[in-house]
Symmetry: C2
Subunit: 150 residues, 2 copies
Amino acid sequence: MVSRTRFDDSDCPVARSVDAIGDWWSLLIVRDAFDGSRRFGEFQRSLGVAKNILTTRLRALVAGGVLASVPASDGSAYREYVLTPKGEALFPVIVALRQWGEQHFFTPGEPHSELVDRRAGHPLRPLEVHAEDGRRVTPGDTTVRKVPEE
Amino acid sequence: MVSRTRFDDSDCPVARSVDAIGDWWSLLIVRDAFDGSRRFGEFQRSLGVAKNILTTRLRALVAGGVLASVPASDGSAYREYVLTPKGEALFPVIVALRQWGEQHFFTPGEPHSELVDRRAGHPLRPLEVHAEDGRRVTPGDTTVRKVPEE
DNA sequence: CCGTATCCATTCCGATACTG
DNA sequence: CAGTATCGGAATGGATACGG
């Protein structure tokens, strides 16, 4: 049925995450959900994706527990799509991608959308990776280990 | 040439990042690079991907400045693929995906690979998003703004 | 061991038309 | 507005064979 290589049985959490999200469209849907989109039409206009594709992706994200389909808040007969707690937990992923993009694909002063702290109106602090004891770590400070130890 | 919808002119940094990475295979190649893979064969065995696909993805990642192709360190005639600074800057992205996966797709005690601080041998601290003043922020505390203000 | 070249089946996407 | 149904073309991905 699915021919794309699946990673859902990998022992690597990155691979399973990638598999659960599905594809790039799905990730951008999640991004829009963080930005406040809830309605089918909102996603569609924002993404410019074909409606059948959007339907498929929304369904998959709901099935995967990332989005929940709830009755429309305006009392209409339609659905709205909101992030579940599991979906909200993707926040650092989106923020990390956003910061990487801002840093490497925009010239200074080039118009772009920016994620800001609502209270102060300022951009967020760059994400940092820390060890358990609070030390900041770089990629070279880390290593991948199988659990349980083999 | 490429029919997949491109996002490289979007004003959203997330979209440009997604576009630059290319596809899921590329992201897993980057993951392997963080894990220490450098050789064609290492990537191929780890990923189980067809060689022609791997060639394409490596080339794209090199072209995109994420990986650099350098002479093999063992003196052989081949190339090795190492992360550039731009590629290393994807560290938080990989860590975020890894942590999301660990949290949501593994049962407690299920074997998996884990990223640990090499010095202490402990897992990393969960990523947190902070405002400029150091306050921790959740998705609801943030909003997306166009820059410059429209 | 490291790729390149070719081939083919699959599928994915986008457009369009249609329904409630 | 929110989907569903269908269709054709493009292109990707995997297998395989080949070459440096």
